[in-house]
Amino acid sequence: MAFAFIKNTLLKPIFSIIFIFIIGGSLFSQDLDIYKKGKDDNLQTPNIPSGMSYSEFQILSRNLRLKDMLYAMVVPGYVHFKADEKATGYTLLGLRTAGYIGLGAIYYSYNKHYDANYDFGNTHDGTIDVNNYDIAFVTSLTVIFATYFYDWIHGDYKLKKKQNLIRYKYGLKVELQNTYGQINTVDVVPIASIALSF
């Protein structure tokens, strides 16, 4: 009886409330993001290893998020620019622009020559062959989508590779600094040391 009551009456509102909380939570967030940011990272002053350049610091603090995927749709080569791969970024920018120009040209040309009475299958003067436009249209679209996916996938790979190199380099150097080696650059002085471990 009680189970039937819960099932029939309460289950719907409970699920509705949970659903509202989930949706509401993401509405209040400032970014389209699946990771929750619990604190303001901008207030933290990072410990920067000596020798790290500003461009390395920038690369290391960059993450690819869902909003970047959207930006990359609008700005060709965006992910490569973010990964500091300017040459590839500009190439993608050029290719995607060519794709957009191609689409624009097809649209303009098609509208100009379009004959509403055109009988497909019969060719007569003053009309157009739709098949040529199809090829140009598909090529332009392929260039646009291919550059987008290349930008996203290859850019992501490049950024992560660079971040790994930086992390490896400075991480290993910090470790080398902390380990006690046999050779020292200053004259070797006999020392007594006590280590406390908890």
Binding site: G51, K169, N184, V186, L196
Partner: protein
């Protein structure tokens, strides 16, 4: 109670002391890192560290630090450049080790590696051996500035773009500590200032220091015309050839 206080203070002092003594220098860490990465032969990792290694090298030159580990650092850096196919910097790093921080244990491997690097730079074997031997002989005085002068003079002979970029910094450092600049360095600086390319610079300098060539242009009117044009453009006055003639006057 007092004894407890002394023990605590003693512990604190000991831990400070240990940190002070066991602190490793950047050169030693860089040397260890180069050793680890060179053995992995991962080009991305090795090339990524060139800038950092040169920063450490700059600190050695600026501080005129004469620690024995510097020789090992430069030798390992030369190996890193060798793996990355940076022939000019490979030879230059070996020269830096040889002249600034001579080490007998690195001599045999050093000369072989240097000749190999020079072959890649299209410098003939006899000349490469001559450069290395001049470097191994060292300067007349033991001062760091004299060593730096010899290093610059010998490195000019490599005629490599990457090396020349670094040499400009080294010349700046050398001139800060030396009231008189050597003629060869002055000549090289002048040819750089007028914007002569490496090929022509090499030809001109080789002609000047060669015992066989009759004049500096070695009867090459095309080169003479090009050099004169560059000088006119640089000096912007009618007496423009004065500095050039003075610098490259006939050897006695």
């Amino acid at each position: 109670m007092r004894i407890v206080k002394y023990i605590i203070v003693g512990f604190i002092l000991l831990s400070f002391w240990e940190n002070l003594i066991a602190q490793k220098s950047n050169v030693f860490i860089e040397y260890q890192y180069l050793e680890l990465t060179n053995s992995q032969r991962n080009l991305d990792v090795i090339k990524d560290n060139y800038r950092n290694a040169e920063l450490v090298s700059d600190s050695i030159i600026n501080n005129q630090d004469e620690n024995y580990i510097n020789a090992h650092f430069y030798y390992e850096l030369a190996n890193a450049y060798k793996i990355g196919d940076e022939y000019g910097m490979w030879a230059f790093s070996l020269l830096r080790q040889l002249i600034l921080f001579p080490n007998d244990s690195l001599r045999n491997g050093g000369i072989q590696s240097f000749v190999e690097a020079c072959t890649k730079l299209k410098i003939d074997k006899s000349k490469a051996i001559n450069i290395y031997k001049q470097g191994a002989k060292g300067p007349n005085t033991k001062s760091f500035t004299a060593k730096l002068e010899l290093l610059i003079e010998q490195s000019i002979e490599l005629y490599n773009k990457d090396v020349e970029e670094l040499l400009q910094q080294y010349v700046f450092q050398y001139k800060k500590n030396s009231p008189v600049t050597s003629l060869k360095i002055k000549q090289w600086e002048y040819l750089n200032a007028i914007g002569l390319n490496i090929k022509n610079k090499k030809e001109l300098m080789n002609n000047y220091y060669s015992a066989t060539s009759t004049n500096i242009f070695n009867n090459n009117p095309k080169l003479e015309k090009k050099v004169n044009k560059k000088i006119m453009k640089y000096e912007k006055n009618s007496h423009s050839l004065t500095s050039f003639t003075k610098l490259f006057e006939k050897r006695k």
